[in-house]
């Protein structure tokens, strides 16, 4: 089946987000707008009532076809801080397991007057598929689809980098581990390239870092020392045991010995390098506890920033939907 361009699907006629499916085709201005808006939501943490009425009366459905506690929880919290009503659907235990098709499930949710779907699915392209087949005024946010994309994760990583490094220019970033199965790495690579870092290195064994990534503008490294030398940012990826079919790796301990981030290997990077990880972390598989809990680790900042980025994306997509529905929008009133 032919798919329309992601850019055409996720932007409205004014060039604003109405869905958030992928970073592919989004320009620097739009990515910067997401980061700026997220910053303004971060400062909301000082309020005694940590809620703004932006999405009051809107219904947000968390549609998780694949489990993820952290992503689902932070999306739920983000929606609630925007005053939306949130439903969490655990698809595994619901109608789909009784044989209802995806489109039938969606039609039912549409009939309940939902305004936004947060979609996580193990198939690449599923959020895009839903965006094309839903009622046009429902905003679709991709919370991870197969190996394809995880755009809100990439944007919360960008926010974390910007807050710690002040910007992107001149930065060297290493993404280490299972790049092959990682939608996070793909989205990060797009975001980092668009925002203008000077180098992105993908580091890992040949089986998990295929050479075709070089075409996307990355430097491929199969040696950890060369990969970490003088970098400002290290992103460790989780070894995705559940996606590891066949003999891609000799063993976990072999992987840790060659590519694990420890106090010793971290020393190859710049002394002020930050260590990130999208979670959940496998201690002793890709990262040592000393590093994960150490001074250079910003792993918990990523979680906090994730809520703000998700609030930003949700409010922007909702706004883009409403602007699209009513292009004769009124101006500001005092």
């Amino acid at each position: 089946m032919m798919r329309s361009e992601p850019r055409a699907v996720q932007l409205n006629e004014h060039g604003q987000l109405k869905h958030f499916l992928t970073l592919d085709g989004l320009d620097k201005t739009l990515l910067t707008e997401i980061l700026d808006r997220a910053e303004s939501f971060l400062s909301m943490g000082e309020q005694s009532v940590k809620k703004v009425p932006l999405l009051r009366g809107k219904t947000v459905v968390n549609l998780f076809f694949e489990n993820s506690t952290r992503t689902r929880t932070t999306f739920e919290l983000a929606a609630k801080r925007l005053s939306a009503d949130v439903i969490n659907l655990n698809i595994e235990t619901s109608a789909t397991s009784k044989g209802e098709s995806l489109l039938d499930t969606l039609k039912n949710l549409e009939a309940m007057q939902s305004d936004m779907f947060i979609v996580r699915h193990s198939d690449s392209g599923s959020a895009h598929f839903i965006a094309e087949h839903c009622t046009p005024n429902i905003a679709i946010i991709n919370a991870g689809d197969g190996r394809h994309a995880h755009p809100t994760q990439a944007m919360l990583d960008m926010l974390t980098i910007r807050r710690h490094k002040g910007g992107f220019e001149g930065l060297k970033v290493a993404i280490v581990g299972d790049i092959l199965h990682s939608r996070v790495a793909r989205s990060q690579l797009q975001a980092l390239t668009t925002l203008g870092v000077s180098e992105v290195r993908l580091v890992g064994p040949k089986t998990l870092v295929p050479s075709f990534f070089a075409e996307m503008g990355a430097t491929i490294c199969h040696d950890l020392e060369a990969g970490l030398k003088d970098v400002d940012v290290i992103v460790m990826l989780r070894l995705q045991k559940e996606r590891m079919k066949g003999a891609l790796l000799p063993s976990e301990s072999e992987f840790y010995r060659l590519y694990g981030l420890t106090v010793e290997t971290l020393a190859w990077a710049k002394p002020d390098a930050i260590v990130m990880h999208p979670g959940p972390i496998n201690r002793g598989v890709e990262i040592s506890s000393e590093v994960a809990d150490g001074k250079q680790s910003v792993i918990l900042d990523q979680v906090t920033n994730g809520i703000a980025v998700r609030m930003a994306v949700m409010s922007m997509a909702m706004s883009g939907q409403l602007q699209s529905a009513d292009s004769s929008a009124a101006g500001e009133e005092k």
Binding site: R37, V49, S315, S319, E332
Partner: protein
């Protein structure tokens, strides 16, 4: 019509000093609403008996026309100190429908319960759509339907009337 900004600001300062004295308002928090309100509040701060620095409020997330007008692309910093049981002097450049002030009050209450809120407005256009009136007014204006007040600033602060179309 020529607007005398200096005279209106001077009048607001006198009114504010008298008002605070009459109501026993001490050490109030002066809050300017972004963007014009912050500029006006900067001018007024010296007339208010307070040790608090200027506080600022961006009401973008509290507007009631989000569904119609969408998100304002630029959100400024809201910076409020602990507001519980404090007197607040809320400042804006123009009072028209009263919707901005409603949004501002909602946001202030999300930070705590103030002892009081006093509303100080540079230009009251008398077109209220809500039961909200200013306590301190620099000047009452009656404009033609297509006229708008445009404030530019912060340094120098100046004002003119523009055609809305």
């Amino acid at each position: 019509m020529k607007l005398d900004l200096e005279r209106s600001l001077a009048s607001m300062k006198t009114q504010l000093a008298t008002y605070c004295e009459k109501k026993n308002i001490e050490n109030a928090i002066v809050v300017g609403i972004h963007t014009g309100g912050v500029w006006v509040a900067e001018q007024l701060l010296s007339a208010v008996p307070t040790n608090e620095p200027l506080a600022t409020l961006d009401i973008t997330f509290y507007r009631d026309d989000f569904t119609k007008a969408g998100l304002n692309p630029k959100v400024n910093q809201t910076s409020l100190p602990a507001i519980e049981d404090r007197h607040v002097i809320l400042v804006d450049d123009v009072l028209m429908s009263g919707r901005t002030v409603r949004a501002a009050m909602n946001e202030i209450f999300d930070f705590g319960r103030p002892a009081s809120i006093t509303l100080a407005i540079l230009y009251d256009l008398g077109q209220h759509e809500l039961p909200i009136a200013a306590d301190i007014v620099g000047e009452q204006l009656t404009l033609n339907p297509d006229q708008r007040v445009k404030l530019t600033g912060p340094q120098p602060l100046s004002v003119c009337l523009i055609d809305a179309h």
